[in-house]
Amino acid sequence: MKNWFTLLCLAAVALAPGCRPSRQDQSGPPPSGQQLTVGVAFETLQTEFWVAALAAFKDELGQRNIKMLEAIADGDANRQIEQVKNFITRKVDGIVLVPKDAKACLPIIKAANAANIPIVLFNRPPEKSDARSVAVVADNFSLTRETVAYLVSAARKTGAKHKALIVIGDLGDVNAIGRRDGFDAAVQEAGDLIEVVARVPSEWNQEKAQAGVVNALQANPDISFLFTSSDFLFPSIVSALKTAGKYKKTGEPGHVILGGFDGDATAYQMLVEGYLDATGVQDVYFEVAASVQAILDARAGKPVADTIRDPGFVIHQGNLKEKARRMWGAQVKK
């Protein structure tokens, strides 16, 4: 009991000096300006995609003169809950959330609802529930499916049968699973043409991805069709292909049909150089703009759809020119 007592005492003591200054700060949106504050809580910054997205938010909010608070949960669902609660504590005017996963965010949304703060789930949909939120999402499953479908069509043109390899992401990550399922769906339709001979779990880790691909190529030197659940793994995959001497441009003999997801700078480069056949691009700028708009609308009391779909798009040699400007990877490059 003593220990709890001490703890509570500590809290009590702390309150006195603590509150005053924090008040001051919370009147932070000064009386003069209508400047709003939006809290942006990301689950991770481990890949360029998220970095780009965060940057996009900075620009978007900056242009609209909205103050931005950021918090990165570093992959910890419970820490994320804490962080968003912090936002709420600081009376932000809107919350953008990249949840650790689709369901863990429910209590967060409820908390936001309770505090009557509009909350947008960025890029990852919440589970259906009575919690009110706006989700801006690119559908991993269908976009991957589209992308792979394009790769399959490319494979058809070669006229030969293909042995396929998929690099799977972290088995604990819903996106990875969504993309894996999208891939499976697409290749099953082409069962006659594509045989999946290797599934490499990368745990979103370059080293494992690289080793895995090398080993897979070792086991099946005739692999001619490769899809990675995220473009950020390309560097290691490319080096693996190089070691096996199978890194060839499209159309060259021995070319391995390459596909990815995200549309990052590496992928853009590879497209330009003609090594990459296609990648599924999430339209970050669309998603960001939509998110911010959704928050403003909600504050203005306008009706907002509970799900805003980012159609995304498959970018490939064919449509590179016209799509490049909407490919975030291409923008980052510049």
Partner: protein, 347 residues
């Protein structure tokens, strides 16, 4: 300790670790004809080289009854710095030199904390683990960096070492060995010689066995302890170089959790976590290779991705189990032997 079965069992157990190793190789070999091909075995070596070198450094630390949790972070920091430099146009050799220096620097920090400021190794290196990761993230701006071709060259380069007649593989009529494997071999050899043939090496064992006695005997424990953390830091950096050479990119997860892989490899090789017992060759090196073989084999036989952690952990557990049984048995036998000359001091 009933009857005589221990005496019968001991020889078996003595080579059990090796037998396990062989049986893993054979097992995968049976499952897939491609596993035991020279190319694939070479592959395993290349892929194991990085972890093996880090684990060698770790062995030095473990021998002194310490631990270095910061190796993964060290890999990350040094790699990140090197990446930035090469992207900024610095020549590869210089980048590599800087990596090694950073490795030594981190080792120095650990050494300082542990030997001068008297912080427990576990906590000290836990702290530097966080510091290192944070610093790395800062340098990389938490995004992946793609490195110039030059790095990959280290990974793929093959060095002809001896002319060969009938041996397979060498197209040029020379037996060629991939550079990473060569580096691993060199490091392993060097470490082995240091540990077994130099006063410094033997004093490491002495300190690990009993620090107080070592001090009384006139050894300077601080010097020994400090130097093992330097070594570990340098090995981490070198391991970082080899991973980089295979990846050609630095991602924010680079080197993550490598400390566990390294410790596991060392312990698989029979290194005790309580100091004073263990060796780099064959111990640690084989340990690292064993782990890598399993990972490799699982891919080769296209196993269900979900099985990976299960199989890997099971095999590590098995290896350590065997080792413990063996040492337990040795103890019993030794106790009986002693009794005759001396008061049966408790085993």
């Amino acid at each position: 300790m009933k009857g005589h079965w221990p005496n019968a069992l001991l020889p078996a157990l003595n080579h059990a670790s090796l037998m396990l190793f062989v049986s893993v190789l054979l097992g995968f070999g049976l499952l897939s004809p491609r596993f035991l091909t020279p190319d694939n075995l070479l592959n395993i070596l290349i892929q194991a080289s990085s972890t093996a070198i880090v684990a060698i450094g770790m062995t030095f630390v473990l021998l002194t009854a310490g631990v270095d949790l910061s190796v993964g972070a060290i890999m990350f920091v040094s790699a990140a710095a090197a990446g930035k430099m090469t992207l900024a146009g610095v020549a590869l050799p210089w980048a590599l030199v800087v990596m090694m220096l950073i490795g030594l620097g981190c080792g120095a920090v650990n050494a300082l904390l542990i030997t001068r400021l008297g912080v427990m190794a576990f906590i000290a290196t836990l702290g530097t683990l966080y510091l290192g990761r944070g610093l790395g993230l800062f340098i990389t701006e938490t995004r992946a960096m793609n490195l110039p071709e030059a790095f990959l060259w280290i990974g793929v380069a093959r060095v002809p070492i001896l002319p060969l007649r009938a041996l397979a593989g060498g197209s040029t009529g020379w037996l060629e060995v991939p550079l990473p494997v060569l580096i691993l071999a060199a490091v392993a050899l060097l470490a082995h010689v240091i540990l077994t043939r130099t006063p410094f090496g033997r004093q490491i064992y002495a300190v690990g066995n009993d620090l107080e006695v070592a001090r009384k005997a006139g050894i300077n424990p601080r010097r020994i302890l400090a130097s093992v953390y330097f070594i570990s830091g340098a090995c981490a950096a070198l391991g970082g170089i080899l991973s980089l050479a295979q990846l050609g990119a630095v991602s924010p997860t680079f080197g993550n959790q490598r400390e566990f892989a390294a410790i596991a490899a060392a312990v698989l090789g029979g290194t005790s976590l309580f100091g004073g017992r263990g060796q780099v060759w064959p111990g640690t090196v084989l340990g690292a290779i064993l782990i890598q073989s399993v990972e490799n084999g699982l891919v080769i036989v296209n196993a269900d991705p979900y099985l990976y952690p299960l199989v890997t952990s099971a095999i590590i557990f098995l290896a350590v189990l065997i080792d413990s049984l063996r040492s337990g048995l040795l103890e019993r036998l030794r106790r009986r032997k002693i009794r005759v000359e001396e008061n049966g001091s408790p085993a």
